[in-house]
Amino acid sequence: MDCAEARRSHIQFSTDKLTEGKLQTHLVPCAIKSNGVAPISQYFRPEATDQVIDGKTVLHAALRGRELNGARLGVPDGYNGYVMRSSQPASSETTWTAESQFEELTYWLHDVVPTASDLLPRALEWAELAKEAHAPISAADVEAMME
């Protein structure tokens, strides 16, 4: 998309719209073509297995008969997890509003077991590295490095 044509979007973090408490969030390997409330805690029942891979307990669940293996991932230090909803007003502006918060998400894989080399845990590694990469460098630091 060309820069000039880019839609404008706002992100709104008004805390008064946030629901109380932290959510249980799941990332499933499928697209569920629905955006509403679902009886998740009734039907989706993750169970911890005895298996531990890369320091994480493997979880087990089923969704529409498919076998899923999952692992819990914490939101990186210094970050917050938000569930956002987009408003689609008549204008071309989109407003994203934070609806609820989460500290941890469980990501699920179909057939395979979760490992530390999965995309999601690796992508979150960037959060830690970004802190270092974007940390301000003082003149004293540079001088110290030169010597």
Binding site: S9, I11, S34, Y43, F44, R64, G65, E67, S86
Partner: protein, 273 residues
């Protein structure tokens, strides 16, 4: 000798149970005098009484392998789908192995066929060399040892279905009927207990055509990455050799110059939401 038969292969819900029964070849006459018959020809009451007799009989041994609907669905809906026949053959072989491991000396195996009898026989003979295998259609009515196995399997399946304990916290009735898709009770249970997101609790076999049809018609559309990947394979081949268009604006850092660190993590800069 050992007989194998299955119960609950066709139903859309509940366990599939494989049963085995065994006795000494010398007790063939004795076995014939017992009233074991194809479980389908017996009433529920009669089956249960015969199963009690089988359990109490010192001359006879038995075993069952219960394959839950969750296991069955999971295996049949894997990225590399595992057929029902394969599951059946493995279960049967497992029962023979369990008996051997328990110290039973098996010379003859009688099995009611699933799929092509020749192929099935070949699988068993390869796995258990030196054992005489008889794989035949209608074995459950032809060989009393298979009849006994069919009773063990059928009673176990029915007992589990009757006493089904839902893992999900749903208020579903237990008026399942026989579980066959054509059974009016099963039909109305499927009708009444559908949930648009999840479909059904795990008593239902999601890999059955009946379930798929209901999910497609009444459920929310769910698209699996595993299925999409299969579809994309064709597209990738079609696009092969197509000239890549030049990168226009750098609103997204998806271009060729993206650092491998980000590429390998599928991370890209985003400006638009």
């Amino acid at each position: 000798m050992l007989g194998i038969d299955e119960a609950g292969r066709g139903p859309v819900l509940g366990d599939m149970v494989y049963g085995s029964a065994f006795c000494r070849v010398a007790d063939k006459e004795y076995l014939a005098q017992q009233k074991y018959a194809d479980s389908k020809t017996l009433t529920e009451d009669k089956r249960e009484r015969l199963f009690e007799l089988l359990k109490a009989d010192d001359k006879m041994g038995w075993n069952v392998d219960v394959i839950t609907p969750a296991t069955l669905s999971a295996k049949m809906l894997r990225k590399t789908k595992e057929s029902l026949n394969k599951n059946s053959h493995e279960s049967a072989a497992g029962l023979v192995q369990t008996a051997i491991d328990a110290g039973v000396n098996i010379c003859e195996i009688y099995v009611d066929t699933v799929g092509d009898p020749g192929r099935y026989q070949e699988i068993l003979e390869k796995k258990f060399p030196g054992v005489r295998c008889t794989v035949a259609p209608k074995a459950d009515s032809l060989y009393p040892i298979v009849s006994a196995a069919s009773i063990a399997a059928k009673v176990t399946r029915d007992f589990n279905l009757k006493n089904w304990c839902f893992k999900e916290s749903v208020k579903a009735s237990k008026q399942f009927g026989s579980g066959y898709p054509g059974d009016p009770d099963t039909k109305s249970w499927l009708e009444d207990n559908f949930e648009p997101h999840f479909g059904y609790p795990n008593i239902v076999r999601f890999s059955w055509a009946t379930t798929k049809k209901i999910c497609d018609e009444r459920g929310i559309d769910v698209e699996w990455e595993a299925d999409v990947e299969d579809d994309l394979k064709g597209v990738a081949t079609l696009n092969f050799g197509k000239k890549r268009s030049l990168p226009v604006a750098q609103t997204k850092s998806s271009g060729v110059n993206r650092h491998p660190y980000f590429k390998s993590r599928k991370l890209q800069r985003g400006v638009d939401f």
